[in-house]
Symmetry: C2
Subunit: 273 residues, 2 copies
């Protein structure tokens, strides 16, 4: 096989399997190539990804050794994306009766999901989470996209308890709208002593995220991080401290039809390994 | 830039943007390369994808011309995947009280979502859908994964009507469990005269899918196809005829703890363009 063909296949194999440790020996077999040629190919791919800021190829030596692709996103792409989101979100047509902001369409766009998932995967890459956790409904696509780039399972907390979920832990909590709400998580869906990354669409006072944290205590499970697509600037004191938001909603005025959305509180780590 | 580097970048650009028409002129600019070299690179990539059965590169000539990557999945990978699913699903530990089968964990696994999404995208690639439609909750990850490979937005029908969705169309229907249920879809989420591909996790009699079809009439929208992860063999006469299932559940016996799962009714088109 020619080098250029090998490079197409290797690039495809790596990009389609983020975070998986791929054995050099197996890849060499599949491509009927010497390991030494493979190493040269991988170093070309590594250099391109590194130069573009789109990924890291991590090499593990030894018998169980191999190579692992870790997706990254360059800072300029994040900035462009967040600016674009702020522009789209500030469209007065999005204002709903009661001063709510319509965002469901955005959270179904494939490019938005892909980009946001990649950003969360980059930000939380060092958190060593075992699962991505979300609560139905609007946060699920975002959680799935993040989980894809981290190669983790997604676990969905339900609002009600279904017979198809088996035995579950249910808790009550007070939501931002001051209503008593219930959430429920199947016992089978999460082994005890895991680490979860919480991903959701929206955070106001943080009541739902706080309830998810409380729920995790029932599963003896640690919360490795919390990421939301949009948080509100008010109330400033949320029910939890450490969360990452991509955008911040400051203001929706139903009368003057003005919306203020700005960059969230996220920071990108520049750490390259 | 060396050919091998260009090929890494081109492969990445194409694979990360399924179904998008990418301009040759823009790509040549970005890579500071002649269009003729680019065409040679693309033909190498095209040959590898075609040989592997993992994708088609469609070239569009003319001023607005470019290249489009259409993801495919080889038949042997589909077969392996479905066999593996049947094996996992037949684990007696999955039997829940009442003879239900626990599948939520499977529908959260990144590899399952990726594979199933890719299979649905392959099967429904000719259907010219504008949206992927699903109903909360368990079908959402599958719908998002399919929509990613088709580069379509995902639209989620809700079980209740939320204030953050704006005005909505609500319908009542009778579900498989013979309960009267409600579903609701925001007016804003789907323009009239669209074409949707319905993706869901499970189908028994087809009551939910039928209700989605009825809902689409309210939006003057055509249903281009229906895909489910699992359907049941009973009742044989479903409330709709044309659907594609990846697996078929024949039997769950709570006493003998036996489960029978087999390949679904799907067919892969072998059409290559």
């Amino acid at each position: 096989m020619r080098r250029s063909e090998r490079i197409v296949r290797l690039t495809q194999t790596l990009l389609e399997q983020p975070y998986r440790l791929l054995s050099l020996t197996e890849m060499a077999d599949q491509l009927s190539s010497a390991k030494s040629s493979l190493s040269e190919d991988l170093s070309i791919i590594r250099d391109v990804l590194s130069k573009e800021g789109t990924g890291i190829l991590e090499t593990h030596a030894g018998a169980a050794g191999g190579v692992r692709y870790i997706p990254r996103i360059p800072a300029w792409q994040v900035q462009d994306f967040v600016q674009e989101m702020c522009r789209i979100l500030a469209d007065p047509e999005r204002i709903l009766p009661g001063g709510y902001l319509y965002i469901s369409d955005i959270l179904g766009q494939p490019d938005v999901l892909d980009r946001a998932g990649r950003i969360f995967a980059h930000i939380f890459s060092e958190m060593e989470a075992d699962y991505v956790l979300t609560v139905e409904t609007k946060g699920i696509p975002l959680a799935v996209s993040t989980a894809r780039y981290l190669h983790l399972p997604t676990v969905v907390v339900r609002r009600d308890h279904r017979v198809t979920e088996g035995s579950a832990v249910s808790i009550n909590y007070v939501s931002g709208s001051r209503r008593i709400q219930t959430m429920s998580l199947s016992r089978r869906s999460l082994p005890e002593h895991s680490r979860v990354l919480i991903i959701d669409d929206f955070m106001k006072a943080g009541g739902t995220a706080k309830a998810l944290i409380d729920m995790m205590k029932e599963f003896k499970t640690a919360v490795a991080g919390i990421g939301v697509f949009m948080s509100t600037s008010e109330p400033e004191d949320k029910m939890l401290e450490d969360y990452v938001s991509l955008t911040t909603l400051a203001h929706v005025d139903e009368i003057s039809r003005e919306i203020q959305v700005s960059k969230g509180n996220f920071k990108l780590s520049d750490k390259e390994r």
